[in-house]
Symmetry: C2
DNA sequence: CAGCCGCTCACATACGTATTCAGGCTCGAT
DNA sequence: ATCGAGCCTGAATACGTATGTGAGCGGCTG
């Protein structure tokens, strides 16, 4: 009842009439412990509500059974916090960690901080999951440093872009291509792409590349005037759409590099009197929850966030255990809703 | 470059020509260390990329500088994962933890598991943050056990409902009242309440109570036929609205116990040909992101999720440090949008 | 009967840090 | 020169667990 000292394996040992190492072995299910002894120890442990002291255990074993999830963020947005696409991934990561008996630490990181040494070096975690969009060139050096330090980590991003570390990502190129072919199939020929196409943003870059390849496959070519930079926020999408309108170029469809961009763009287009999908077909990317409740409901290239989270965790754990693991390219799926006019 | 052993405070001591305790003192900023010595030690530490071993430090100090965030969930929903209202709270919790130099563990919990002994007893965390809706009666015994065990914890919930532990919550009663008075002010008199009003769900119960009190203040009384149970999902809201329609009772407004309920209900009402807000005014609760992008944009009672997260963390840390902290009742704010017809 | 093996267990120790205690040093005052 | 008062520092130790090593014991083989 009162503020007793937390029971230790020594306490149990004494009560069970054995030594502390035997308690440790028994509770960890090691073989070579007499079944009767084990049972006695387990019973006493349960009765005392004993828990292995994680700190002591970590110190002795030199690992923590803990993964750290690091979100990288724009220092600018102090409010939106987590990109909605990562929300469902987060849930899946949490679940998968629990399945594998790992704890999960979570934190935000500025690209500029010295996160690359803060977790595994301090033995807070056995491995790192890196999440977040942002200028890839800012990561590159850090990733290299991480790898040189022998840190275990996986990241969500562009699998094709060369770069240090184990990367899990979806088939951005294939997804971009499929979306564009769908628009072409609807008879659209002047397709704008909203999203930064620079290689500094490899995922968007690949989506754009798939888009351009699909155009080429239809004997068309990507019009530079129809590509407008945007990062993955509604505001940026709205700004891009406005820029597109202001530019005066003719277009009958939009492929947005993310759903947030698409939603922001639709808002601006509708405010400008464009009907969706009659005047302009719109397709997004990600399939965040807001996509299906947008008006009109947004056709989009789905990334399987649940599979993504699971793959990240299991790949990381595999790597920690020195198993042979490699990067993974996850499939995308076109979800057809009203916004493209199918 | 290679797989060197991780440097320890002994390594630094040797290089600096001092003893290990001096290194520990210097790096922890303890007073009573010669400034020159301290500088030398700090320089060597930085050069070796030294990090204090958290496991050893935790073992020695007997605390972990870590908080654990426990989400309680319906075992049923394996997909939606986290209630959207908690998303922004999560971001704020992560940030506030970082500000106070605490790490954050996060996990999902089934109400039935033995979570109440898994974290602080194992010294994984110094304190617990409990989040989640659910039948309060299922918590009650566990909370009592937690408190009896001397565990440090705070929970988000109904501040008014008696129960063990330190609770932070918003003014559900006041918010419910304000929403209903607003509807009355618009001339609505037959206001339905969608949400479980039972005391098993204290937060909804209080919102309902505020609603009923506001009606009483206008010489009206709450019609039992206009209260329909619902939990905080869109599906449940849709089902409740359908039940309301099927029940045949006349109504000209809806106060939903959460935004998700409101959004689900609006969908059903609109499908049934009701115009919002012309035929039915709708007000939600929470102000999740989807509220402002619903059609029509949803009037709602905002809970300040950012303040909530910050308050939870700071209260918990205060409690861990044995400072005088108490429960907190956070203010709500009515956000008027189109759905109520103001 | 000697030697061996398998089964259980206890002894000793290591993990890396933080903290208590005591001692050496410098400096100024007498 | 002596002494006390700080100021720094080092030696010793504890935190609780996991693991390498070896001991006792009974049974078995040759």
């Amino acid at each position: 009842m009162g503020m007793q000292r937390k029971p230790t394996s020594f306490d149990i040992a004494q009560l069970a009439g054995v030594s502390q190492p035997t308690v440790s072995r028994a509770l960890r299910g090691e073989s070579g412990v007499n079944p009767a002894t084990r049972l006695r120890i387990e019973s006493i442990a349960k009765q005392l509500n004993y828990r292995v002291d994680k700190a002591a255990s970590n110190l002795r074993t030199r690992h923590s059974q803990t993964l750290a999830l690091l979100f990288f963020e724009d220092p600018t947005s102090d409010d939106s916090l987590i990109n909605p696409f990562f929300h469902s991934m987060l849930g899946s990561i949490i679940r998968t960690c629990a399945e594998h008996n790992h704890d999960l630490l979570i934190s935000f990181q500025q690209l500029s901080s010295d996160w690359h040494t803060d977790y595994e070096d301090a033995r807070k975690a056995d491995g790192l999951i890196l999440l977040g969009y942002g200028d890839f060139e800012l990561y590159r050096a850090r990733l290299k440093a991480l790898q040189d330090a022998g840190t275990h980590f996986v990241r969500w991003g562009s699998v094709l872009a060369e770069g240090a570390g184990l990367t899990i990502g979806c088939d951005n190129r294939g997804g971009g291509g499929e979306a564009t072919r769908h628009l072409l199939g609807l008879g659209r020929k002047k397709i704008a792409f909203l999203g930064t196409a620079s290689s500094h943003y490899p995922e968007f870059h690949e989506r754009y590349r798939g888009h351009a390849e699909a155009l080429a496959g239809a004997e068309l070519s990507a019009d530079p005037a129809l590509q407008i930079d945007a990062i993955t926020t509604e505001e940026s999408g709205a700004a891009a759409a406005q820029a597109l309108l202001d530019g005066g170029a003719d277009f009958d469809a939009i492929l947005a590099a993310s759903d947030l961009i698409a939603i922001g763009a639709m808002r601006v287009l509708q405010a400008a009197g464009k009907r969706i999908p009659e005047d302009v077909s719109v397709i997004g990317f990600d399939d965040i929850p807001a996509a299906s409740s947008a008006s009109p409901p947004l056709t989009t290239v789905m990334q399987d966030a649940r599979l993504a989270g699971r793959t990240l965790v299991e790949t990381l754990i595999g790597r920690i255990r020195e198993k042979p693991v490699g990067p993974a390219l996850l499939p995308t799926k076109l979800i057809v809703r009203k916004s493209c006019g199918a």
